[in-house]
Symmetry: C2
């Protein structure tokens, strides 16, 4: 299997001023090719650090992708540092120089001689064209290994890596390994350790499938992966393990692969031609924010009410003052009436409501911070669930919004009995 390492170069990265996105992008692209990322490293614009890092990465990997430091200014020293590290002279490339000069003419830029620096490469380098800028990349073959150097500008790197570097690695390493096939199962409502335990007996070796756990609060993503030449073989193996997991975690599964919770809820509402109104107290608009992240949400989200005050609950949703006084704003009767009022006043098929105590204050012995009631109403009736979350304010909002969306998802699959 091909082992790849990534070296990003730039003081702006090591100083934390700019968040590197190239590493994650290149790592994903390598994953799709079935290549293993051996290491990634960021160093400053420093000749010694660049040499040391390359020496080390070449002990770990067959191929190293270097990004950054190919600009025309004095602090861009990647090309000379790499040439020096391997004892290679720098040689001007006339073809690249002519191309750069064309760009200057076409874009009406004023030529200054420092730009000629971008047409100089270590002897023996293979040029990697840059269709989107003046900084061409290059590759060196050193002792059976390959170093590919591309600019740090994400827009340029994201084009040059698949178009220039990937084919180059495939030519250099014909044995570059089997492709990897993956299937992601997204779960919510079960702790990671518990899910892990429920799947512990699945024999990864025998099944030919790896299972990875990737927590993304408040969700956990299970990534099944399988290495094989045959797509149908992968489908069969992944499908087998997926079926086992579905048998054990079905109540917690809410989406697959690139689907999101709000996306599946949106798709379900759209498919069934249902509309919804949302009444939010402690989530403060977060449920509507998530639903409106889905393009086309105006087709199903009629309106939302952020009923933070009691007056708003009464005036907009018709929750009687007596209910609020007798049971409190955070109570099952209030949650039910909020959902019913949202549905009725908006004239929608469904009404969803959340009322709770996000903290840090406002809790009591009977209703501590984290007490949340979530209700869903349709024309036939209303269901309500009661939760006790133990997180900070922001996370109580996040997990409550997630639980509310899950309630709608369950309804869309199994009706009010499944909520």
């Amino acid at each position: 299997m091909l082992h790849v390492a990534i070296l990003t170069i730039g003081d702006e990265l090591t100083g934390g001023r700019i968040q590197d996105t190239n590493t994650s992008f290149i790592a994903r692209a390598c994953g799709r090719e079935g290549w293993k990322l051996a290491a990634s490293m960021a160093v400053g614009d420093d000749e010694g650090a660049i040499k040391k890092a390359l020496d080390y990465l070449l002990t770990l990997a067959d191929a190293v992708v270097v990004t950054g430091g190919l600009g025309p200014t004095a602090d861009d020293i990647t090309t000379e540092s790499i040439a020096k590290a391997f004892g290679l002279p720098l040689i001007a490339n006339d073809e690249v120089l002519a191309y750069i000069k064309t760009i200057f003419v076409n874009y009406n830029l004023v030529w200054t001689d420092n730009n000629a620096k971008q047409a100089v490469f270590p002897a023996g380098a293979e040029i990697i064209p840059n269709p989107g800028g003046t900084a061409a990349g290059f590759a060196l073959h050193v002792g059976g290994k390959v170093i590919a150097v591309i600019p740090g500008v994400p827009r340029e790197a994201e084009r040059m890596f698949p178009e220039g570097v990937v084919p180059l690695f495939k030519r250099a390493f014909p044995e570059a390994g089997l492709p990897v096939h993956t299937r992601t199962i997204k779960i919510f409502g079960v702790p990671e350790a518990k899910a892990d335990e429920l799947l512990a007996d699945i024999d990864r070796k025998k099944e030919g499938v790896e299972i990875g756990f990737y927590p993304r609060f408040p969700e956990i993503h299970l990534v099944l992966s399988c290495r094989t030449e045959s797509a149908s073989d992968a489908k069969q193996k992944l499908g087998h393990v997926e079926a086992i997991i579905e048998g054990r975690l079905s109540e917690f599964i809410f989406a697959y692969d690139d689907e999101t919770m709000e996306g599946t809820v949106a798709a379900g509402l759209t498919d069934r031609g249902l509309t919804i109104a949302v009444a939010e107290s402690c989530t403060g608009g977060l449920i509507c924010d998530r639903l409106t992240d889905v393009p086309g949400s105006s087709g199903f989200l009629e309106r939302g009410f952020v009923t933070y005050s009691n007056a708003a609950k009464t005036e907009l949703l018709g929750v009687p003052q007596e209910t609020l006084e007798e049971h409190g704003a955070v109570s099952e009767p209030t949650a039910r009436l909020m959902a019913e009022g949202a549905r009725k006043n908006a004239g929608t098929d469904l009404g969803l409501s959340v009322t709770g105590i996000a903290g840090p204050t406002g809790g009591s012995a009977a209703k501590p911070v984290g007490t949340v009631f979530i209700a869903l109403a349709d024309k036939k009736g209303t269901s309500c669930r009661n939760y006790s979350f133990r997180w900070d304010r922001r996370r109580i909002k996040q997990i409550s919004a997630q639980a509310a969306l899950l309630m709608v998802r369950r309804y869309l699959r199994g009706g009010m009995e499944s909520v």
Copy 2:
């Protein structure tokens, strides 16, 4: 000067499935302490790779921060790998075990034996407490150098690094350099290159103050830093540069240091005893979500309306159907009437509204995707501003919410004339 290296561990990072934010966060925190980041590296959950990486990083740095792989599942192997790398036996820590069990009891979680793994550490390790989770960190002192290990969960790492690791490094390296004093100025509404140009002539050397630009969409944070033993000297120098920046960028500045946009708006409303109602169309609840992230928001946020449909705009906010037909839902007249209707129907001092086209569809030649109207009403009148944002759906929502909150902030400082 103290040289620090960062090692992030996890297949989810090297596989590109999760974007690492810890490296950038830790690099920034080191920068604030005046420490130099020697290198950062990511490796998978692989014993050999972890050992190799540590060996290499210890040749570059005095201190290594390791994040990730401290979970209870079988693929979390950081602790054992580090113990093995330095030939140390693993020893259970009863105090940590008791703490983890307390968390399980308090949060009503079901104990499974794999969780005991999180209470095992290499012999001689100093425990770094985790106030927010079950994964305690630890530090090892090896040959005059220090390795500090904390969880990869950003929420936990972001608390444990300043509270646990920074003091530990300072104890281990008393020579860690002069203290660095910083002042952060948060700006919005001006491109980074333009802000940089406006501040280019400030002589950093002469002033004894560095100026760093940290873009965090849709904000830019300017971090002024000054190295000196004397707090009063730092205050004087930082104050001098801050005054220059305020003279040039005042209209774009919305917060300092740890303040947030929603926090300053909340504080302003609370101080003045003003209440607000928010009517959101294209932001879909995001403004209310941000305002309700501030504890005590029930004191000023009376209610919010997510008026996605025209019917909702008419019924909840009193926008006449004729206005919607004549000018459209995305128009200045509609935005003004939304703000006025929100204020009137909620009985609040202020009404804030946003209506726009978040895309990807719904745009036209006259009103392309990114057209947004924001209005603010008080008892005397209404102001409206018109924006053309060029981003994707999520970013149009984010920048619109930010612009709306900035409008409230300007009002709180200078009245309706400043909006």
